[in-house]
Amino acid sequence: MPFNELLSDLAALYPSDRLLTAAAQIMPYESDGLTAFRGRPSGVVLPVTADEVVETVRLCHRHDVPFMARGSGTSLSGGSVPVPDGLVIGLNRLNRILRYDPLHRVAVVEPGVINLRVSEHVAADGLYYAPDPSSGPVCTIGGNVAFNSGGVHCLKYGMTANHVLGLKCVLPDGEVVTLGGESLETVGPDLIGMFAGSEGLFGIALEITLRLLPRPEVYRTFLAAYDTLSAAGDAVSMVVASGLLPGAMEIMDRLAIDAAEAAVNAGYPADAQAVFLVELEGPREEVAAEEVRLMKLLDDSGATEIRVAKDDAERLTFWKGRKSAFSAVGRLSPDFIVQDGVVPRSRLGEALGEIERLSQEFGIRVANVFHAGDGNLHPLIMYDGRVAGALENAERLAGEILRLCIRMGGSITGEHGVGLEKRAYLGEMYEAADTRTMFAIRDAIDPKSLANRGKMLPDAEAPALASHGAHPLEQQGVISRM
């Protein structure tokens, strides 16, 4: 058994409280934020230094044991479901901020640092780290890099990859490489761009150099209520067409509003069918000028109510509702799938109408929360897993929504990654030649397919691009459902 041999080598590297193999220790690592899937690893290690990570990867390579890096396990696509019988490398204790240079506005962090901690750490100098996924208080920078995560403010500033200047990583064969540096201008291919979003397939990020931004002088946050979801969608198109570039534009529909209200009492309008959150940010005079234009636009867009956050506390409350919406849907339904797809933002209204139609056709409730500014939809598909066939039905609907995105010229993931969940759709989105190139790159970097095996790329050995029903790994009895 290769794992047993690996285990005795690991035992020399780790004290017993950081090498977990007992059932009660490894079971809690079986799944991530998408509870539909679980996979039992053979063990979990909790390194406290980058050297331990490197040595662990080398040992896995020597013994041919697949491994998976794990941050906070908040992936919504099964990305951090362990490789069955493989090793989980839990990075949560690598949570130091190694270097912080306020003058050059960079911070070098370990991968287990929590996203929000970075902004907290630098706040006193008037700086912040821009990518702000809703899971910011929980998820790690390592996970953000692996998924190229975004957030409500990525409309103006771009996703994680736009904020990573340098990376030190260990490749799947144990070689340690440094990509990028401390400046945005690099020569040669954009290797950081390739690593960011690779979902753990190209190795493990050990040190991440982040770009920090000065905190905008002022924020102005607007909440507009609408009678219909499509009216809210049209308002987005109007703002885009006007040339204004808000820091964030988000929409929530009635169901999502209900969930958020129950969770955090954000005080959203009680009878609106949709709320549209828009935030202007920047220098005071600039924002003041933009505010007048935006107000007029919102007036013209048929909003039934417009509120402006009167202070920072109210601004945070507006956002808190939005940011807790995913988990809050747990109050409306025992189980749900958070889907993540992109449509061109000019076709937002049309896409929403189509989702509504599908929801009725399937008889399944769908709550909608989305980054309206970049056309990134997050339909939350609710089902009751205890009812036979309900999950399969929900997955079929999720699949139809993804196909809709592809048809409209969008993408099957905006920010949550492909993971386990959407591997099957990769082939629908890309031509065979594209997928072959992806495999070729993976094989060049990781010929043994040890790093996060089975994620993202539809494996050669399991080509069944099943769009619904049992997952290929499930059919093989490798993973199972909760």
């Binding site: 009660a24 809690p28 995913f326 809050a328 849907v329 109050r331 189980d335």
Partner: protein, 442 residues
């Protein structure tokens, strides 16, 4: 999260436990507010991980003894309930789970003895007082006493105040605005009787008549949260009988007791008293919430400006969702500047008998809390729970910065007494004495 918990087989608590598991969507939002996850950084010591483990045990996939070490490390602070957007009632899963675990677990003879000793002493003021006095005497022998017993001695305060019997009814001043019954707590009566005196004086000044029912016992929280369900039920029944119906509210001034009394319906689920327990719990309130709703007679300003950090006791802030009320009360006192403690949602590590059961984690959390408090540059600390007061005082002293730690009611009392003068015929020992640090500082 989908589960296959055999609800009927588990008994009366089965459904609430299953509901808590079912509502968890595994999103991890609870991780950053969990003190054990913060300290240990491992999934099985997080709320999400513990819910998963309890689910596996209830489903029959994991032997209970394997899960128990991780459940034992849980402080029961329910910080995770506050941060959970999905509304998981973690406490309703934990308490019955611990009771089940207690029935089947194997403890060493020394553990059994220690546990017996704690459960037979702490809830009974007279026994506890005696034990504490003896403990004081035994302190020089501390190093001779085996491990955790020695730790316990270390936690005793430097001085055990003399006991003074509380009156059965304490009159209101001025026009009567309300009539309440007060639970006076057990350990609190021994360690810091001045908190009860301060509380009744503050109520009295505000026109509230206070009844202190004689038949009351320990609230039972300590027993319930350590899995001694039978003892918890006994205390709950005694209090149901002891507290009168003709009062406007039943008040507590110790967060742990208040949250315990709110759990009576859970402890007595499926028992004949379940309905009575629900009505009782509906009338229980923390004194700060009660006063905030009643409307405070504006307290006069303190003689000197005082910068006070308010510490959220978990069983007030998380379990009873009482956060703003005590802050509003304190802010109404002139000359008090109230400051917030960074990462204030994290438990200070006191949590009932946690200091005795998990001394290392308790110590780590205590010193982190003390450092966060000192970071604020405050001159004093206010909180609403005797357990926290002892823990904070101990760790501030260990940091060599022994700031005074007050109960919210003590600060209010101080303010009112500035006006009335301490000698306006109001009985009771001096109130301004803050919690004293324990002997661990030696």
């Amino acid at each position: 999260m989908l589960h296959e918990i055999p609800v009927e087989r588990i008994g009366p608590a089965g459904q609430v436990m299953a509901d808590a598991v079912g509502t968890c969507v595994h999103c991890g939002f609870c991780l950053p507010t969990c003190p054990t996850y913060d300290a240990l950084g491992e999934e099985m010591d997080s709320p999400r991980g513990r819910i998963f483990l309890m689910k596996e045990v209830l489903e029959g996939n994991l032997p209970i003894d394997e899960a128990v070490p991780y459940i034992d490390r849980c402080l029961g602070c329910v910080g995770c309930v506050t941060s959970c957007p999905s509304g998981v009632e973690y406490g309703e899963l934990l308490t019955p789970f611990r009771a089940t675990a207690e029935q089947v677990r194997k403890r060493s003879p020394f553990d059994r003895l220690l546990r017996r000793f704690v459960l037979e002493t702490l809830p009974y003021p007279r026994r506890f007082r005696l034990a504490a006095l003896l403990g004081r005497l035994a302190r020089p022998l501390r190093r001779l006493v085996p491990g955790r017993m020695g730790d316990m001695l270390g936690l005793l305060p430097a001085r055990i105040p003399p006991s003074e019997r509380l009156p059965e009814v304490f009159p209101h001043q001025g026009q009567r605005r309300a009539r309440v019954a007060l639970l006076v707590g057990c350990a609190q009566q021994v360690l810091a009787p001045e908190i009860n005196w301060a509380t009744i004086r503050v109520l009295s000044v505000n026109g509230v008549e206070v009844v202190i029912p004689r038949g009351q016992t320990c609230c039972g929280a300590l027993a319930a949260h350590t899995g001694a369900a039978w003892q918890a039920r006994r205390f709950a029944r005694a209090n149901l009988a002891a507290f009168p119906d003709d009062v406007d509210a039943i008040l507590t001034n110790a967060a742990g007791c208040g949250s315990g009394m709110h759990e009576y319906p859970l402890w007595l689920a499926g028992q004949p008293e379940e309905d009575a327990a629900r009505r009782f719990a509906g009338r229980c309130q923390d004194v700060s919430k009660f006063l905030d709703e009643l409307g405070l007679q504006p307290p006069p300003a303190l003689a000197e400006p005082l910068r006070v950090a308010y510490h959220d006791a978990c069983h007030l802030a998380h379990a009873q969702r009482v956060r703003d009320q005590p802050r509003r009360l304190l802010r109404s006192i002139g000359n008090i500047e109230l400051v917030e403690i960074p990462r204030g949602e994290l438990c200070c590590g006191s949590a009932g008998t946690y200091n005795i059961e998990q001394p290392e984690i308790a110590h780590q959390l205590g010193s982190e809390k003390a450092r966060s408090i000192l970071w604020t540059g405050c001159q004093a600390v206010a909180t609403g729970n005797i357990g926290c007061m002892t823990q904070l005082a101990t760790h501030l002293e260990l940091e060599e910065r022994p700031l005074p730690v007050y109960h919210t009611m003590q600060l209010l009392d101080m303010a009112y007494r500035v006006e009335h003068g301490a000698s306006n015929g109001v009985p009771g020992p001096e109130t301004s004495e803050a919690a004293t640090a324990s002997a661990t500082a030696e």
